[in-house]
């Protein structure tokens, strides 16, 4: 009974999310919708780290490396092909290949967790410096001028697949981005409920035990790393589509740190939490930016300190614990995504996926 109830509730949540994504353009103004599009792209990036950190147990500081590679791969190929269809695919494939190579050396070289953090951080910095020093006409890939610190402006945005002349309107772009966020969320949910996903969590829980049972932790972690890199790269394409621009600051350290804050605030070990954390924090940052009264980094730092001290588990797990306590076992479920206007994923709770 409870399992059926849970399935029905999850299906309902997904349905609500779909309706919300479809209706948002007719409900809110263009500017707010553009902002939501950005948040949704960032939330996909948040999901990539939520997956590898929360479920794979691998704290990668390199998600912005894949994010940036995806963004650049999209921009360069979109300028060359003048069609976003293969470009989006490349924005997924290039970072995934990069993750495969990097991950192979990290995991098969049995490098410990601390060094993994250092290596991913360093790789991000190296990419930033490399891309940053590509100003000048000699740095071009096909028709795309890399532009060094100035980045690549006027990147063609998404078009209807295989119809380069039919560029998506801002509304359609929102549907694609919001839909992508929901799609990636559901994909990860599905993966985590499949045996393969349970093995990923098992390796996080106890690598030694997993290998003594015959699972190869190196392979499991490498695949997790590649998938997470691919998702981050896809987020990069969504981000570039939003701004029609990509610059080297996409590899910046502050963004790397920000993703970690999103997840800490939203709740590590969940998928919904990081989405909420991302949207909430990004909204606050954007709001502060428009006020000019406070420094947004100061506020971000304060938020992080407050959460680590007072709500170390993050919003979603804390809310879930509260609900569990208030509502005795009979109704272990509730929607709570509606209060924060945007999250297109009003989706299911994380029960059973920890």
């Amino acid at each position: 009974m409870t399992i059926r109830f849970r399935l029905v509730a999850q299906a309902a949540a997904v349905l609500i999310a779909i309706v919300a994504i479809v209706l948002i353009p007719s409900v809110i103004e263009l500017f707010a919708m553009m902002q939501l599009t950005l948040f949704a792209a960032m939330a996909v990036l948040a999901l990539s780290l939520a997956f590898i950190w929360g479920f794979g147990g691998i704290l990668s500081f390199g998600q912005t490396a894949f994010f940036g590679l995806g963004g650049y791969a999209y921009a360069i190929s979109a300028i060359n092909f003048q069609d976003s269809t293969p470009s989006i695919l490349l924005a997924i494939i290039v970072p995934a290949l990069f993750a495969a190579i990097l991950g192979y050396f990290i995991f098969f070289g049995r490098i410990s967790d601390v060094y993994l953090g250092v290596i991913t951080l360093t790789v991000t910095l190296i990419l930033f410096n490399c891309v940053n020093s590509t100003s000048g006409d000699e740095y071009r890939i096909g028709k795309a001028l890399l532009g060094g610190f100035n980045g690549i402006p006027a990147v063609p945005t998404f078009n209807v697949p295989f119809h380069p002349d039919q560029v998506l309107s801002p509304e359609q772009s929102w549907w694609v981005t919001g839909g992508a966020l929901l799609g990636i969320f559901l994909l990860l949910r599905l993966l985590l409920s499949l045996p393969a996903g349970r093995v990923i969590v098992a390796v996080r829980e106890n690598e030694v035990r997993a290998s003594l049972l015959g699972y190869d932790p190196r392979k499991v972690k490498l695949l997790t790393f590649i998938l997470s890199g691919a998702i981050a790269g896809f987020a990069g394409a969504l981000y570039v589509n939003w701004g029609a621009f990509v610059g080297p600051t996409i590899f910046s350290l502050s963004l790397s740190a920000e993703i970690i804050i999103w997840i800490t605030v939203g709740g590590l070990g969940t998928l919904l939490g990081p989405i909420i954390g991302c949207v909430l924090i990004e909204y606050i940052v954007a709001y502060i930016g428009s006020q000019q009264a406070l420094n947004s980094n100061l506020v971000l730092g304060a938020v992080l300190v407050v959460f680590v001290l007072l709500l170390p588990k993050g919003l979603v797990p804390t809310a879930r614990d509260l609900l569990m306590r208030l509502v005795p076992a009979s109704k272990p479920k509730a929607q709570h995504a509606d209060d924060h206007a945007p999250p297109p994923v009003a989706a299911s709770r994380m029960a059973g996926a920890e």
Binding site: P195, N206, S211, G214
Partner: protein, 242 residues
């Protein structure tokens, strides 16, 4: 049996950690279906021996063969797939997952999807945790976590089972049950047990190997070993010339 390939054979096995010699030129043979107990004081090299058998450590020198296949230097998961399962000294379980899921992770390597459910149920019944199946392992007692780990090892259906102190932290009643299970699985598999509890060893043992300072001191039937003056001296901390 003597002319057949033994299930497990270690020859001149040596494991050094810097200046410390944890295993010193060990020769060890285990036949199919055998039940062997390893005893010896702390630091005798029993757990190190288990670690080299399961790929957690690569021996400094010497050879290990499992059914004639060399395994020294192979990785843990490769050895596990060849059919060696181990319960480690400190419980190695998936603390954040449920009991059922722990067992399932061991079952699914061998069983078809259809057979997994019943196989998990059977193991849960054997380790007497059927009604605790949905509990998160971290919330169980030490003894129960030992059971979960033993259950995982059984569920993976290895050809050779290594149990490092299976009765540690268990009540007398639980220890009896463990002995019963060990005798039962020995009907079909070979087992090596490391234990300190002499009563427990008397319950299960046929042949006993005594480790002392990284070497094999004696290897004989349980009665003879327990009557051996050198073994008594080792446990009482006297100097012995092996």
């Amino acid at each position: 049996m003597a002319d057949l390939i033994p299930l497990l054979q270690a020859e001149h096995l040596t494991m050094r950690f810097g200046g410390v010699v944890a295993n010193d030129d060990i020769n060890f043979t285990l036949e199919e279906m055998e039940l062997r107990c390893l005893i010896g004081p702390n630091g005798a090299g029993k757990s190190t021996f288990f670690k080299t058998l399961t790929g957690q450590l690569v021996p400094t020198s010497g050879a290990i063969a499992f059914r004639g296949q060399p395994i020294a230097g192979k990785l843990s998961h490769e050895i596990a797939r060849m059919g060696i399962g181990i319960k480690t000294q400190v419980p190695n379980v998936f603390n954040g997952l449920s009991v059922r899921e722990n067992i399932w992770l061991a079952v699914r390597r061998k069983a078809t999807p259809r057979a997994q459910g019943p196989a998990v149920d059977a193991v849960l019944q054997m380790i007497r945790l059927t009604d605790q199946g949905d509990r998160i392992v971290a919330t169980l007692s030490h003894g129960q976590r030992q059971w979960v780990e033993i259950g995982m090892v059984l569920a993976a259906e290895p050809e050779l089972i290594l149990l490092d102190e299976p009765a540690a932290g268990m009540t007398d009643e639980e220890t009896l049950h463990t002995a019963a299970i060990i005798r039962e699985i020995n009907q079909t598999r070979a087992i090596i047990v490391v234990e300190h509890d002499m009563e427990f060893i008397k319950q299960i043992a046929k042949k006993v190997t005594v480790f002392h300072q990284g070497r094999v001191l004696v290897e004989d039937t349980v009665d003879k070993v327990l009557a051996d003056q050198r073994v008594r001296d080792v446990y009482l901390g006297k100097k012995v010339t092996a």
